[in-house]
Symmetry: C2
Subunit: 272 residues, 2 copies
């Protein structure tokens, strides 16, 4: 029977999800054997389940026989993720019009920043953070903002773990990072200089939810040689934040709740 698990405790659902999981980090389309190896499943099982997933549209088979995630999953995700993007996109687009620099809007998910929206033109900086990408909090300006305004227990827990080095300028000394986060709270903005990647600098400001907690950050990324220009972007960034916070205050409570759950996870997860 198709639905019957072979190993005790491993359900068909967990196998289907293990198959989808292989595509999370896949650079491109995968062969059945790649999927089976990564998912740790028998090829016969993968063959059967992939066929069902393909038929529904969760996966697609290319002419070369390799599989990739299907457009139907993309559509379901778009539909789920759109609420917040629909709100933040116009003000972010106007910030781009003012600055013509790469601008983005990010939230914290666990110990990472996740990029909700990003606007850039052809004159753009190397793409480190695309929409949907996750990065650690400490080497990014949006992440520093989100860390600086988090509850003490969370910030202390984050600083207690080893700080991943992303470039030779990443701040990996917890005491130095803690001091910088104090300055972020005093100044109301965070900046980075080649801390996530050489050649890039960035600046970010906090965005507050109606209940007052900082839930997101608006950031701008520049070539690091233009680090000195950062202050001139702050007024327009703060103008964007004022508009965003006004829009958030106008949301019906259930909508705000749905947005919170999707982008920030359950309060349980936030405490983990």
């Amino acid at each position: 029977m198709a639905g019957q698990p072979r190993e005790p405790g491993r359900t068909t659902t967990s196998r289907v999800l293990a198959i989808l999981e292989t595509f999370e980090s896949a650079p491109g389309p995968l062969q059945l054997t790649d999927i089976a190896t990564t998912a740790g499943l028998p090829l016969s099982t993968v063959h059967r389940l992939v066929a069902e997933l393909e038929q529904w549209g969760a996966l697609q088979r290319g002419p070369d026989g390799r599989y990739q995630v299907g457009i139907r999953l993309w559509e379901i995700g778009q539909n789920a993720g759109r609420r917040l993007r629909d709100i933040v996109h116009p003000p972010l687009q106007d910030l781009f019009d003012l600055t013509h620099e790469t601008v983005h809007f990010a939230v914290r998910r666990g110990t990472e920043v996740i990029y909700v929206d990003r606007i850039y033109g052809s004159r753009r900086v190397p793409r480190i953070a695309r929409v949907g990408a996750r990065l650690p909090l400490h080497p990014t300006a949006v992440g520093k903002v989100l860390l600086a305004y988090e509850e003490d227990w969370f910030r202390e827990a984050y600083l207690a773990h080893a700080l991943e080095r992303r470039s030779r300028y990443t701040i990996t000394d917890p005491r130095r990072l803690a001091r910088e986060l104090e300055v972020v709270r005093e100044d109301g903005y965070a900046q980075t200089q080649e801390e996530i990647a050489l050649g890039l600098c960035s600046v970010a400001v906090p965005v507050r939810a109606p209940r007052g907690d900082v839930v997101a950050a608006v950031g701008i990324v520049l070539p690091s040689v233009r680090f000195a220009e950062i202050p001139r972007f702050l007024p327009s960034m703060r103008g964007t934040v004022v508009r965003l916070e006004k829009l958030f205050r106008g949301l019906p409570q259930p909508v705000e709740q749905a947005i919170r759950t999707f982008w920030l996870g359950s309060s349980v997860e936030r405490k983990q």
Copy 2:
């Protein structure tokens, strides 16, 4: 046993997919009972499968106990859909800079247009087509372009079916639509005037893949009162197309293939 199907021929996989399916058209978060009813599954089954989906992150439970699609599915979809958007976004952004009108890039999927990317500011027209949305081909300018340049068998099959009326100006007479599609091929662009919704007009131009077939369209949407302005947008739209087609020609064949499979579906599907 968790994985064991209750009804003959209905596998656990098909049930998991039926659960995800309930979220495709959901206006917001759903209760377990809503999911069970829509998916046609016993509440106990839904309860068990949803718990597994939630644990993995495919679904999320809000504080009100309702479920919605989880951010993890959004991330997988983003990752799968990004290749084409990464290519089209900068030229589209530059078209927006030139026009400051709502611009979009769409492909044909079956008998519908699907919006791959869309750029708009705060001065925007009513949102009919968001990224990920599907619309019929005949009432939209991008759709008319994709229909006009399709193979005869497809166009004839499309025209042979009843043409859905979206507004009182939607062209539902197949002979009239066929004549207009000829004009689209002669002029190299399509336009609509209140055919998808009252108050809106639009214009679109074709985008060709390296092998020469029209696979996408670039469009601009305006308030219908500005219909007379449409011609002045054509030069910049054609400039955007030239850039896009150059970018597509520069793609490695496997990447172009992966993009085709994801966005256009298998050639089999295209023949259906």
